[in-house]
Symmetry: C2
Subunit: 476 residues, 2 copies
């Protein structure tokens, strides 16, 4: 395991240009080549230290390059390679694992100004876009054509398509409509040395060689810089939507209810579970009457031509499982019910600093996973309000604390949480990624052999180790 500490040492030993500090020569070269898109203002450098995880790097990076063209990206990478300077690729900075946090000695390559929609093809159900466009802005553009890019992370209004690709993002609609990996046909990738590769296809099918597109999705800036993407689109679903809520006396009962729906074979578009602490906090925030003590809630939406029949079938299943069920076909009422779920993040933020976890388990294991969370709450004396994308077994347990630093007891509890998820056949991250916050657990899940193999693949793309060092594959 000692080999995992090598990269930091290697980076330091590779300073070039004689006795000059490497960051000085890198900054000078960037300014020479790229002029005023090289930003060293206090505010910009400071904001590049953190994402939405609450974690912050130990200091400011060298510069933020606001790339406007693919050539800007290529020039930046050529300079980074020549000067052996680490590069952190950054979109809107809404990540939750610290993958885009940049610190001393690092160049930040921002792709937010690379935000054009290059092509929309309703006949081929595809779009070609640059990475910096916001997910919601893209979908507004696509809606004019009756089209839709399905990945819908909760951050969709503020997160970029490039960031969604870098993390392999999920969201609320994944169980029915898939995650990012299901919705990208190809990516254009600038390598560490500045070369540009076109990966993937424009055709729906294609098996020429290895699937490097899928390899890049979720690679969190460790393999290259995504400068373009060919996205697989859907037609906007026509017909009704139906929304249901079901209140259960315990979180375990709600989890059993959601597992019963999956087992019944009905596929909701959305199926969200809020435990008692999460539900109470959301009601508080929205000034709604408090829910019954201990009550947990499922919020479910069906869509498409069979929406009403599916909602009816779901209501029967949930009532049989002991749920107190409300069904509505009114869109406004449906949005009002979903708003309670959507209030989760601000409701948590109102309670203190939040560490949002992201485990996923096979759907049948949801009730056991909630048992484990209750056990961990008791052992560590913590409240862990939890919301789950129950339709795909993805849970977001929230740790709340005071101040900027994650307390040791929270990491200890998180460690137990990860181990429990893996023990139940699950994973330590369903959709947020490893970044720097979970890198110390990565080898535990992958096994040492696979961990080392993945690192070797990273080196094929990035032999000098300048792409997002210290993230994903770093040791704790």
């Amino acid at each position: 395991m000692g080999g995992r500490r090598v990269r930091g040492g290697r980076r330091r030993s590779r300073a070039v240009r004689g006795s000059e500090k490497p960051e000085v020569s890198a900054l000078a070269a960037l300014r020479d080549a790229l002029g005023d898109i090289v930003d060293v203002s206090d505010e910009t450098l400071e904001s590049a230290r953190a994402d939405r995880s609450g974690h912050r790097s130990p200091g400011r990076p060298i510069a933020v390059v606001h790339a406007r063209t693919v050539d800007d990206v290529q020039q930046t990478m050529r300079i980074a390679t020549a000067t052996r300077t680490p590069v952190v690729v950054r979109g809107a900075g809404t990540g939750l694992a610290g993958a885009a946090n940049a610190g001393p000695g690092e160049i930040v390559l921002s792709t937010v100004r690379l935000n054009r929609v290059l092509e929309v093809r309703p006949d081929d159900l595809l779009a070609v876009v640059e990475p910096g466009i916001l997910n919601a802005d893209l979908n507004a553009r696509l809606a004019e054509h009756g089209l839709w890019w399905a990945p819908d992370p909760a951050s969709r209004d503020i997160s970029t398509v490039g960031g969604n690709i870098a993390t392999g993002a999920g969201g609320l609609l994944c169980a029915k409509y898939g995650v990012v990996r299901d919705a990208v046909l190809g990516v254009d990738l600038v390598l560490a040395d500045g070369r540009l590769l076109h990966l993937g296809h424009r055709s729906v099918k294609g098996v020429t060689g290895l699937d490097l597109t899928s390899l890049v999705i979720g690679s969190e800036g460790t393999l290259g810089v995504v400068v373009g993407a060919t996205l697989k689109l859907r037609r906007i679903t026509s017909g009704d939507t139906c929304t249901l809520t079901a209140l259960f006396p315990t979180v375990r009962a709600a989890a059993v209810g959601s597992a019963a729906i999956t087992a019944s074979g009905v596929q909701p578009a959305i199926m969200e579970l809020m435990d008692a602490a999460a539900l109470t906090a959301a009601h508080d925030l929205l000034d709604l009457p408090a829910p019954p003590v201990g009550a947990s809630q499922l919020t479910i939406q069906t869509d498409g031509p069979a929406a009403a029949a599916e909602a009816e079938s779901i209501a029967v299943t949930l009532r049989a499982a002991g749920g107190d069920v409300i069904v509505t076909t009114d869109r406004a009422e449906g949005e009002r019910l979903l708003a309670i779920r959507r209030a989760m993040h601000p409701a948590m933020a109102a309670l203190g600093t939040t560490l949002i976890e992201d485990i996923a388990v096979p759907r049948s294991a949801l009730p056991e996973m909630f048992d484990e969370i209750a056990r961990i709450e008791q052992i560590y004396g913590l409240a862990i309000p939890t919301v789950a994308h129950a339709g795909d077994g993805n849970l977001h347990p929230n740790f709340i604390f005071d101040g900027d630093e994650v307390p040791a007891v929270v990491w200890d509890a998180a460690d137990e949480l990860f181990r429990a998820a893996v023990r139940l056949g699950g994973t330590l991250t369903g959709e947020h990624g490893i970044g720097m916050l979970k890198s110390r657990w990565l080898a535990d899940e992958l096994g040492d052999d696979q961990w080392e193999l993945q690192r070797q693949i990273k080196r094929v793309f990035d032999p000098l180790g300048i792409l997002n060092p210290g993230k994903v594959f770093a040791d704790a």
Copy 2:
């Protein structure tokens, strides 16, 4: 480009155990370790030389190992590594690109006896299987649970799940229900040196590290031996199916009709196009009355709760496009109509030796691709009967000739065909893979930089180059 010829030379220079011929020591070691699952019978060795592509290796391999357990696979790979002996992994041998063809000096590792269904979980919509089970046998087992593994290559009755994974197989239902890559959560992989890795997840979501599962899918035996797979299942679709046929005066008109359906936003489960030569040959084989001269046909099936409404909408679109449309909700009649499409392969085989090509283009480019095929037919004086999975832009042009050897003129025409597909934004293989038959065109599509990067990734998995050498990344 000269670098591409290295592997063969390297392999020959790595013979071990002094002056003994390497294949002798490999065979002896296999027999010592594995006993009578090491098969050197004439018939077995001879049959391992060819798949269903018609291509045959220059001679017999050393032995076929009929692995019954994962440990058998690991032992075989350890011996292969120790003796530097190339290994060709083989399922049912139904491939169409020569990827599983084995020749002199090679060990064949057959996974067909590794054919157990280890787990079926209706509650989690997943199954864990060994690679040797036939696709159709698996689906018969799953049907008992009301479940279904969606990938449906035309070979499904005779091809293994492991082979489907190795090629990243498609089929008729892909446009609506996805390809193999959309239906596999994880694979267990034995590396070249015999180590066993568990890649992927049991949960629907999971973004821990790089997506090696997707990398292995479609890798055609070049990265490791798939010894297990966790498959993502669907519930069997309930409700009606509707079947339509539409006869058009020209193949271009039929292609325009199919593109109009995609553009209209309706998603058929099946949408197949047969050109005039293909349709006539299938009618001949089935003793049906000859279709009108020059006529091409679309065969379409809709399913699910909106099947009838979708069929109605499709009929309107096709009639507007000049099609002569028949619609039926009768399942038996629907099967009779689809049987004409299913007769394609035997109909071609009745005409001579067949080289089945497998290009894919963006769906809007289907009409232009058929124009290109007509142009190539004229230039080379060949008939190229073509069937297409029109719903996803995947065409199978068939070259018919006499004898075992593909004539030079056919390769010349195929070369034109591949270049035309790539020029139209497509790919030289939609679902059959590269194998040995298309390796000489791979770099043309990928570009030299990506081709070399892919080769380096292969070396991470297989540093000695013993896994399926001469396939996929080989030079012509």
